[in-house]
Symmetry: C2
């Protein structure tokens, strides 16, 4: 009998770069193709994408790519994958519009196509059928994906929460989820990001109340910062602005683009006369303005960050401005965010980053919501994803408390192959998976060697030693000279290092001096050791030997 395989290439044991393969009878579909953000040890890395080796090796079997929603961690790596293979990409209308915008920026679709699917529809691709089931999340038209296999339904929850008063009024299709449970969900691949939050998360609607309070109390301009894709949040801010007689302007290129698309397609409703161009804000009184801005994560080049350094030409922060952080910090960004907040406070702005009435709520299910999903769809097997190991561990403990036996709970990592036949499920041999670090300048991958070199260069700098040899005669033409960059040790340590290089050279025979590699290695070692002994620093040492003859 056919086997079904589920293989995460990203997003299992991490929050970011979601990408999972489902296979049956030689046919293969992919759920999401996301990117992740680098952490602070990823020197000079802008984004991280999954290692697509397995997909590329099996691209002839790929029947389609299915997207749950338009967040970067679910669609952001398409521009790296699509140039390397051809496949139809299936997604809801809003996701399609967002993806098209991003692909136009960075890559060409090549032979791939974007196929629009309405929530509720099912797509038949070879041995597999994929059904789009609407769920609530912080971006429009998010869908759980039910992959109908020969052994039952593999249900990807997507990022979800049970929000009964969503901003767009469109509820989770709980009825269909229940039916799927009755038809037989063999495996639930569930969001687990907020599994450490007890209870039931607040509705997105609560943020309207929080923003309303802030806006009503503000004497001057109000700036609201959020993720550039957070359409629902923008809608709330716009609604609150309009009801308080404020115009809305937008800063930040990505946010402008998103608003433009969302407005054109009807996902964002801006009351007549409310929207004003950023360059026109000067025509209005401070208390007639609300400005949406990027920069909620302290990103150095985002609009709000530039404003905090008084480097943003189109808008200056002034005393009396109120700035609302309507986003949760991604762990690791806190330092940069607080530095930005402090600069804004020093400029005389009031910064609201916490409030009795929430000014931000999460788009992800809390504990009780995760349990409700399990209860609705009654899966046989469970595999939490969209979580770090600590989240997966907690999720499985909760499922265990709900009565699921341990052998039906899986903790997947990227590359893990979960096999299912009609009797059991088991973890087989892994496939290639991992992270590819992208330096967006030039769109190139940063390999481990380069990363290690950057780490050393960033910590202790570089010492460049240059010399010239006559490799025919085995003569020293120019003795070693040093230059330093980013090195904080004493000059005398470098002088000693050059002395030791000269000592090494003087001990080499003229035969040895004809062997460039040997000379380079000996000089390099002498320089490194001397500097380390003198000042405990470990700069990168580059030895350059010119050959003259």
């Amino acid at each position: 009998m056919s086997q079904v395989k589920v293989i995460p290439l990203g997003g299992a044991g991490e929050i970011g770069k979601n990408c999972t393969v489902v296979e049956q009878d030689g046919d293969l579909v992919v759920i999401d193709v996301g990117l992740a953000f680098p952490h602070e040890e990823h020197y000079g890395v802008d984004i991280v994408v999954p290692d697509f080796t397995y997909l590329l090796e099996n691209k002839h079997r790929l029947k389609g790519i299915f997207l749950t929603h338009a967040h970067e961690d679910h669609v952001g790596a398409l521009s790296f994958l699509l140039p390397q293979l051809e496949a139809p990409v299936f997604c809801t209308p809003f996701t399609a519009a967002m993806v098209r915008m991003k692909l136009e920026e960075r890559a060409h679709l090549q032979g791939s196509t974007i196929e629009v699917v309405e929530p509720g529809a099912t797509v038949d691709r070879g041995a597999l059928k994929v059904e789009f089931v609407r769920v609530t999340h912080s971006i429009p038209e998010t869908c759980a994906l039910a992959v109908h296999t020969v052994h039952g339904i593999v249900l990807f929850t997507a990022d979800f929460k049970f929000d009964f008063t969503p901003v767009d009024g469109k509820l989770t299709n709980v009825g269909r989820l229940t039916e799927l449970g009755q038809e037989g969900v063999v495996l639930l691949v569930s969001d687990s990001t907020n599994v450490d939050r007890p209870g039931w998360g607040p509705s997105e609607r609560r943020v309207t109340e929080g923003l309303r309070k802030v806006v009503q109390n503000a004497q001057g301009r109000v700036l609201v910062t959020m993720f550039a894709s957070n359409i629902h949040r923008m809608q709330q801010a716009i609604d609150v602005a309009a009801e308080n007689g404020r115009r809305v302007a937008v800063t930040g290129r990505r946010m402008e683009q998103t608003i433009d698309i969302a407005r054109r397609l009807g996902y964002l409703r801006i009351p007549e006369g409310t929207y004003v161009r950023l360059d026109d804000v000067g025509k209005f009184a401070a208390n007639e303005l609300l400005i949406l801005t990027t920069g909620s994560q302290g990103e150095p080049m985002a609009a709000l960050s530039q404003m905090s350094r008084a480097e943003y030409g189109r808008l200056k922060i002034v005393e009396g401005d109120t700035i609302v952080y309507s986003a949760r910090p991604i762990p690791g960004n806190e330092g940069a965010i607080w530095r930005t907040v402090n600069r804004l406070v020093k400029m005389g702005a009031e910064v609201v980053y916490d409030s009795d009435s929430p000014i931000h709520v999460s788009g992800h299910a809390y504990q009780e919501e995760l349990k409700m999903m399990i209860n609705l769809v009654q899966p046989f097997y469970l595999a939490p994803v969209h979580g770090e190991p600590r989240h997966q561990f907690l999720y499985n403990r909760i499922a265990s408390a709900m009565g699921w036996p341990d052998h039906r709970l899986f903790t997947l990592s990227n590359g893990t192959v979960l096999h299912m036949d009609d009797e059991q499920a088991w973890i087989g041999e892994s496939v290639t998976a991992g992270e590819v670090l992208i330096d967006q300048h030039g769109n190139v991958a940063v390999n481990e060697t380069v990363l290690a070199e950057r780490t050393s260069l960033g910590a202790d700098g570089v010492v460049v030693v240059s010399m010239a040899l006559d490799t025919e005669l085995g003569d020293i033409v120019s003795r070693p000279e040093a230059q330093i960059r980013g090195f904080s040790g004493p000059v005398s340590a470098v002088e000693d290092a050059i002395d030791s290089a000269n000592d090494v050279l003087s001990r080499l025979t003229s035969t040895n001096l004809k062997d460039l590699d040997k000379v380079r290695a000996a000089v390099s070692e002498a320089v490194r050791k001397t500097i380390n002994r003198r000042c405990q620093q470990r700069p990168v040492v580059v030895v350059s030997i010119l050959e003259s003859d």
Copy 2:
């Protein structure tokens, strides 16, 4: 009439490197000499200390250094300051022991002395008297310092909270604080770290309950991580271990040292037979052990971090271990902490970082406690420190709500001079202040140029171009060659850069070729521009020109 000046050299508008000067009649005392930790943009920096220029310029007037408590952000820069001047250092017995330990490690006292002062005592130094008033905090014998000046008392709260059930049973001397208020506090220099937390903070004692629950439920070993100086927390963990029949071992050099001192001086009570050497833990069953460990901030070289990478030879994490994070992340450390937690979870450990019963409480006053301090001492002027601008702003807003008029509230920055005479207080011209970045390897300062170079090196690497010229004849002896480190652009971009360097050289006359600086500048510019044009990267370019003649 005499003027009194209060000049923060560190800790005003930041959390870290506390250091404040108080002056009157030409005499000068210093309150605290702390260090700060670098943030992620401080490449290759280990610690940050205040710029002591002002102190060094006025060291002949310095009458004494007074320490509030033994935390690194209050005493950690002594080893950088004391080698540069002579002064008596006044502090409580416990602080003295901790400071002596640290100074023995890093520096000599030179002509300075450490003078032990009991809480409650007053030290007379020239025109100024400094009184030690006990407060509760997360380390023993913390004292507020009352500097008696001609215009009234300048009261430094130190880091404090109002804990009515402190671990050591020693309460804040509220009576004396009240008396000081009656005598006349002209200026309150207050902790403001937790001003954004509403209400009254929980007692340190609550943590005992939290730890007790964890230990009682644990089947295997329990590891508790905390700051290495957190004696009270260690006491609680030890007490809970003892009452549950567990032995206590310690990992991490700094923690071992602290425990050794605290035990010898009677600040830490370890029940007979409870303490075991780390190398002896193998002799006990897993559920008979509790291990105190460093690494609560994800520091790469700390014991717990090494364990999480299976690199700590003396202790291996095994399935069934419970690891308790009894410390709050310093903002910016979250990423490293979560990465450590995830590695521990993957090893099969249960990690407790949050709990219904607190496993950590802050040592700093919450809003209502800060108000209580104001209420007790009835200061004329107020100046929040030990806070970032966002904390200072909130503190002053609270004081304003309590009835203090704006002109009596000051927001000090490092270097700000707050003058007081018998009629008013005002901000005068600033003195030199700032941060000195220390690379602990070699104990050297990292200047801005080096930091900027490291930033570039870390982001895009280095391209080294070497060549040789005959500067007498103006001839090219060896044409440019390139080496790269940490550079992720395509090889062809470097080849193009070398071509452009050759183009530049071919356009230079032999007269120009005799001018090394000109050649270096021209080649460097050509290489940088070509690489940037080809792949948008901005590596550091080092041009090395050997002269042969």
